[in-house]
């Protein structure tokens, strides 16, 4: 799965956050959900080890959406089960998303013609996301 944000949001928060800032915020959220001290969470250890079950993980992806004001895959934490992994996914997705490039993956008609005209201006991450979407 390529890092991507699903739906167009007019105002994603968190663009420009550094990786470690995302990690630290994530750690806090997890600590709150799991009722443990943030210091106990190792960013490279899979979350199920801390007792985060599958359904909790889906809900936590929802909390991340609320925080960042973007739409994410519901199974994000299943595919990136460590703090480090999630943070790098989010960092990449947010960088690939200066407002108009956010998109819904199943909906290739949703791509702005505008955007196709400006392919040359896109960053590599954006092009990847676009290709992902066009080639099923």
């Amino acid at each position: 799965m390529t890092a991507q944000i699903l739906a167009k949001q007019t105002d994603p928060h968190g663009v420009g956050l550094a990786q470690h800032e995302i990690e630290s915020r994530l750690t806090d959220m997890l600590a709150e959900t799991l009722r443990i001290a943030p210091a106990e969470i190792d960013v490279s250890r899979p979350l199920p080890h801390y007792g985060l079950d599958s359904i909790d993980a889906v809900t936590l992806a929802g909390d991340l959406e609320d925080w960042l004001n973007v739409e994410l895959p519901s199974t994000l934490l299943w595919d990136y089960p460590t703090v480090e992994g999630i943070a790098s996914y989010l960092g990449e997705a947010l960088r690939a998303q200066p407002a108009q490039t956010a998109h819904a993956p199943q909906d290739s008609q949703g791509i702005d013609d505008d955007l196709l005209d400006h392919l040359d201006d896109l960053e590599p991450g954006q092009i990847d996301a676009l290709l992902d979407e066009l080639i099923p």
């Binding site: 080890h49 079950d53 993980a57 809900t59 929802g62 609320d66 519901s74 199974t75 299943w78």
Partner: protein, 598 residues
């Protein structure tokens, strides 16, 4: 009034299955009881359903089947369930084909269509293990990659139709321990298996569904072909949970079938049993209890009907909606049937005599619906976790014409549903719940009704008061969830289960209101008058806190009369009272009536 198109198939099936009180019919109460007593598999009933082509309703039209909508589908299941839940639960394992319709490839879908349409090979769902029930991730049954496909090892138990099925949907471990991507799903065709590599586990003796094949299977280095894998490796849990959103929603139809028979059978007794110079039905409190059971059924009918229609429209929201329907309908109707046993008295305890003792069988069989396919606890848990999000989304939701349009499509029973698209099922609704988000605008609509011309002024007054109370209760729940105390709730906190139950009750209130507003002009006079809605709202609010009965006694009386009317005319206890199989004597009466009116 003409039957709505989506209910014609059920009316036809009713005619074909015939009156369950007629002992000569295959799906009679007498037969259902004798299979139960003998713990015998209901083979004659299953054969009959195949002969009538009910299996074709499990296959989408695009694959040559007769599936049109989950609304029609559910009405068929309800017709079977009201006769014998064991038969319904046995036959309906075909619904596990949903896994293939939702997650399979073209080849797998074609193969499934062929199996369902042209063979009598049944399916079963092999998820549970003796040592692991709801905690699927903990499963031990394992699939290892081999050169030709996969190799299965492990046990699945207790599984409905494990022994008597041709295909098994097996959830097996393909990855690391508690990883959500550690499970994969296989549709295993028994014909592909070396008979020495799998064993059927002995049938379990059960409290209800005593004729069902509740058994299990053990795999010993059992080789299965590559094409058995549905979706991708690691996609098992995701697919399982998405398909559950469909099947959990459909469980409501099974409970409604059971409740229909429990009430009909009790009412039959109440109308005919003579005591104190009258009948049981003449005793005010007995009549009140029958009327209340009827209102419970109408509430659950609204919820079940809205949900199956919602599957086609607000598909993305079913992590919330399926949990509401799967918890609320079985739990409510189980209690309803329990309460009816008080009216039926001694006969509810007998395995013979009054209607062959069908009541106690329905009571036992019905108890399984709240338990399998994700128990009440599992659904409340899943719902509870999402409540913070539904609260927030509702707060942020303003007027939304797209939502209004979705609500109109769902609730106006005359509207044609778009075809179902399983790809849209999502594990998380992002707080969206159209029924609840549309509650405020439904209230506005209600306030805008013209008292006297559009609806009786007194009824409207009660509806305004009761719906306002429901809205206040919702706001109070929101405040609890969104306050510091709510935010600090542990995901396993029992408080969350209580909140989830309350949310279900309020969801029921909003659903009944929407249903009434959208169909006042479409359905019959009793529905349109709205007294039932006032009774329903009062009953729902009573689940939140004790309520004095503030409604005119006439509403209760009219509910009991309506119930008797539906009973006397062999109509389903429903907001859409479709025509049930006529009994012989009534058939003669009808001829007689017709002759007289000519």
């Amino acid at each position: 009034m003409q039957t709505l198109k989506q209910y014609r198939a059920a009316e036809a099936l009713e005619r074909q299955l015939g009156d369950p009180l007629n002992d000569a019919n295959t799906l009679s109460f007498k037969n259902a009881m004798s299979w139960d007593e003998a713990e015998a598999f209901p083979q004659p009933a299953v054969d009959l359903l195949y002969r009538l082509g009910v299996n074709h309703h499990y296959v989408p039209a695009s694959y040559g089947g007769r599936f049109t909508s989950y609304e029609e589908f559910q009405s068929l299941a309800r017709s079977v369930a009201r006769r014998d839940l064991a038969t319904a639960v046995t036959f309906s394992t075909l619904v596990w084909s949903t896994l293939v319709w939702v997650g399979g490839d073209e080849q797998q879908k074609r193969r499934m269509a062929k199996t369902l349409r042209w063979t009598k090979e049944a399916l079963c769902l092999a998820y549970s293990e003796e040592h692991h029930g709801a905690d699927l991730i903990a499963n031990e049954c394992r699939a290892e990659k081999t050169a030709q496909g996969w190799r299965l090892n492990g046990e699945k138990w207790p599984i409905n139709r494990a022994t008597r099925s041709g295909g098994m949907a097996v959830l097996a471990k393909t990855g690391r321990e508690r990883d959500s991507r550690s499970l994969s799903l296989f549709m295993v065709d028994k014909l592909d298996l070396d008979p020495a590599a799998y064993t059927n586990l002995p049938r379990v003796k059960t409290y209800g569904l005593r004729g069902c094949d509740i058994s299990g299977v053990r795999f010993d280095n059992c080789q299965i072909p590559e094409r058995s894998l549905i979706g991708d490796v690691g996609q098992g849990l995701e697919l399982a949970l998405r398909a559950f959103q469909v099947t959990r929603t459909l469980c409501a139809g099974l409970s409604l079938g059971v409740a229909d028979t429990a009430l009909r059978s009790t009412l039959d007794f109440a109308l005919n049993r003579k005591l104190y110079g009258g009948t049981v039905f003449d005793i005010p409190n007995a009549r009140r209890m029958l009327g209340e059971a009827f209102i419970d059924i109408l509430i659950c009918d609204c919820m079940a009907t809205a949900a199956v229609r919602g599957l086609h429209v607000s598909t993305e929201q079913f992590s919330v909606w399926s949990a509401v329907a799967k918890y609320f309908v079985p739990a409510t109707l189980e209690r309803t049937v329990q309460e009816l046993s008080v009216v039926l008295g001694a006969r509810h305890f007998m395995r013979e005599r009054h209607q062959h003792g069908i009541f106690q069988k329905m009571l036992r069989d019905g108890a399984v619906v709240g338990l399998f396919d994700g128990s009440s606890q599992v659904n409340l848990h899943a719902l509870g976790l999402q409540l913070r999000h539904t609260t927030k989304a509702r707060r942020n939701a303003g007027p939304d014409t797209a939502r209004d349009e979705r609500l109109a499509t769902i609730f106006d029973l005359g509207r044609v549903l778009p075809s179902f698209d399983g790809r849209r099922l999502d594990l998380f609704s992002r707080g969206r719940d159209d029924v609840m988000q549309g509650f405020a605008s439904a209230l506005e609509h209600l306030h805008g009704l013209d008292s006297g011309t559009e609806v009786d002024g007194v009824v409207l007054g009660h509806l305004l008061r009761l719906t306002d109370e429901a809205m206040q209760a919702l706001l109070a729940l929101d405040a609890l969830l969104d306050g510091p105390q709510g935010r600090a709730l542990n995901p396993q906190s029992s408080q969350l289960f209580t909140y989830a139950k309350q949310y279900c009750v309020l969801h029921g209130a909003a659903t009944c209101l929407h249903m009434w507003l959208y169909n006042r002009a479409r359905l019959d006079g009793y529905f349109a008058a709205g007294e039932w809605l006032a009774l329903a709202l009062q009953r729902l609010l009573g689940q939140l806190r004790p309520q004095p009965d503030t409604l005119p006694n006439a509403y209760h009386e009219h509910a009991a009369e309506r119930l008797k009317h539906l009973h006397d005319h062999q109509k389903l206890f429903s907001i859409v009272p479709l025509q049930l199989a006529p009994s012989h004597s009534n058939e003669e009466e009808k001829h007689h009536d017709r002759a007289n009116t000519r």
